[in-house]
């Protein structure tokens, strides 16, 4: 009897090992397929752009045809390189300002509908949900006219303002703060702190994890945003990376040297953020999904 038991156990162990090999293998294959385009892009960034147009993304790793020319060009300080770094700087500034303002505004809005009981609380919450139900593209044209009327066309404010009160960010802060004890507010009041002080000095530090999660997601959105900035920005010295890179795709003299190396460089800042804040991303994107 004990003999068959051990046989059974070891056979199930073998089964588990085989399952584990298969499951891990599946992820290895899927990951490899998913990484492939980016790797191919990285390899292509070490080759002349002309070759890219003629041959498509090449898979060959032949080092004799690879060099650092594209990157040298990007850093050499000529007009093209200056242009690229200006886009880079514009994207940086736009991202940092957008993230900072979005987080502050959304935190306070969420704080209001989570921490207080007031007459329009439920209405406000429903409106937050409602704004999530209409894709931005539908509002795009009237918003565009509005921004022109406000004389904010071709300004950073025009790009940022419509998105600062992001409902998904409000919603996430709300989900996070729901679980925080409201007694903290009362104890703050007893200590003589006013409502604004409580929101800033007592509750904000407690909500820090939510800030990290939302910061990374907002940063990704702002850094990669394309459609709206494409409508608003008109002068080339205000372009962000996404629009700037897109202008390199002219039907004539396609500037692929700069395009592909510049694209690879453009991923780096957001990749660093991702690696630093990776564990917060899961919390950030899923607050809405779990609670339904």
């Amino acid at each position: 009897m004990p003999a068959t038991d051990t046989v059974k156990k070891s056979s199930s162990k073998i089964g588990a090992t085989i399952g584990s090999v298969f499951a891990t293998g599946l992820f290895a294959i899927v990951s490899a397929i998913i990484c492939f385009p980016l790797l191919a892009g990285l390899i292509a960034s070490f080759r002349p752009g002309r070759e890219l147009i003629r041959k498509g993304l090449s898979i060959s790793l032949d080092p004799s045809s690879m060099n650092l020319n594209n990157y040298n060009y990007l850093f050499c300080g000529n007009a093209d390189s200056k242009k690229y770094w200006m886009w880079f700087k514009n994207s940086m500034v736009l991202t940092v300002v957008t993230v900072a303002l979005t987080l502050i505004i959304c935190y306070f809005v969420a704080y209001s509908i989570t921490m207080y009981e007031f007459r329009f609380k439920r209405l406000f919450f429903l409106l937050v949900i409602a704004t999530m139900m209409v894709p931005f593209e539908i509002l795009m044209l009237p918003l565009y006219k509005e921004i022109i009327a406000f004389k904010l066309i071709d300004t950073m404010a025009g790009v940022m303002l419509p998105g600062l009160c992001a409902s998904s960010t409000i919603f996430f802060f709300h989900q996070y703060m729901k679980s925080l004890p409201k007694e903290l507010l009362d104890s703050g009041r007893i200590d003589g702190a006013n409502e604004y002080r409580i929101a800033v000095s007592i509750m904000m530090p407690i909500a820090k994890p939510a800030f990290s999660a939302m910061a990374i997601l907002c940063a990704m959105g702002a850094w990669n945003n394309m459609l709206w900035p494409m409508l608003i920005f008109r002068s080339a010295n205000k372009f962000t990376l996404t629009i700037g890179l897109n202008t390199l795709l002219t039907p004539y003299g396609n500037n692929y040297d700069m395009l592909i190396a510049g694209s690879m460089m453009a991923i780096i800042p957001i990749l660093i953020l991702f690696l630093l804040f990776q564990k917060y991303i899961v919390d950030g994107m899923t607050a809405g999904a779990v609670k339904g």
Partner: protein, 328 residues
Amino acid sequence: MRWILNSNITGGAGAIEAKASHSSKKEGNTLSFKKFLYSQKTAPYVFALPFILSFTIFWIYPLFSAIIMSFQDIGAVTTKFIGIKNYTKLLKDSVFHIAMANSFEYMLFTCLLLIPFPLLYAVLMDSNLVKAKGLWKALLYVPALTSVVISGTLFRLMFSEYKTGQLNVLMTMLGLPAMKWLKVKFTSEIALLLLCCWRWTGVNMLYFLSGLKSIDKSLYESADIDGATSWQKFKFITIPLMKPTTIYVLTISIYAGLSMFLESFMLWAGNSSPNNIGLTIVGYLYKRGIEKDDMGYACAVGVVLMVLGLIINFVQLGLNGTLKKEED
């Protein structure tokens, strides 16, 4: 604010006296104003003020003007009300029909591809079978970090019609003829869907993974005691409890699929594709509104898109019982 006006109007002989009396009044008013501003009743409104402003200026107003504009003929100088003419024109506009069909098809296939597979990956990821989980999770998420400009360009180059494009190299390896991927409807649809799967599989997997994490593990333990098989556990515990997450992912996928634009914009390096094989509803809206400056007609396209999205999602939410639950 009235005291400021008052003190400005008052002038002449009694100015100093008036000023003195006003300043004491002002102090009283400021105090009570301060008290009002700092009260527990006012604070939530002050906090929510940015939302109220942003909601009115950047949501309600454009939403209503989109609807109003859709009934107008908006020229450079004059704007006139033309009733439902934009909509009747849309009914007969064959290019718009192509765009509708493309968007609808894309939405359908992205839902079919981007829900079952990420769910499967998430279930595997949640089990003890997979080693080096952190690495795979990170790698699957990386495409979501790239902007459409970059991913679209990479995919266009991969699907290049030259023999040396990767997909054609692959075809040659398999002994198949090279293809003009982005010039034929069927193959370009594949390219678009692959681009979409490439970018969103990891993201959706994380959605499902966090849904799985919220399932009470003791349910599985008691199922184990009752002698349930893995399949039974999956069918009777995982699937029902994953419903809210799945509905959420489905809802956002429907909206994202219907309003897709930039992917096609980048894959064909601009808003025009051969025989409009890559044209989407938003692509048509962009073409009409921005490129051809026919805002009224473009807004009608937008309104149709909105109504379509709302109908599909309400039907979907009604069928799976989410709407009923909220009424209870």
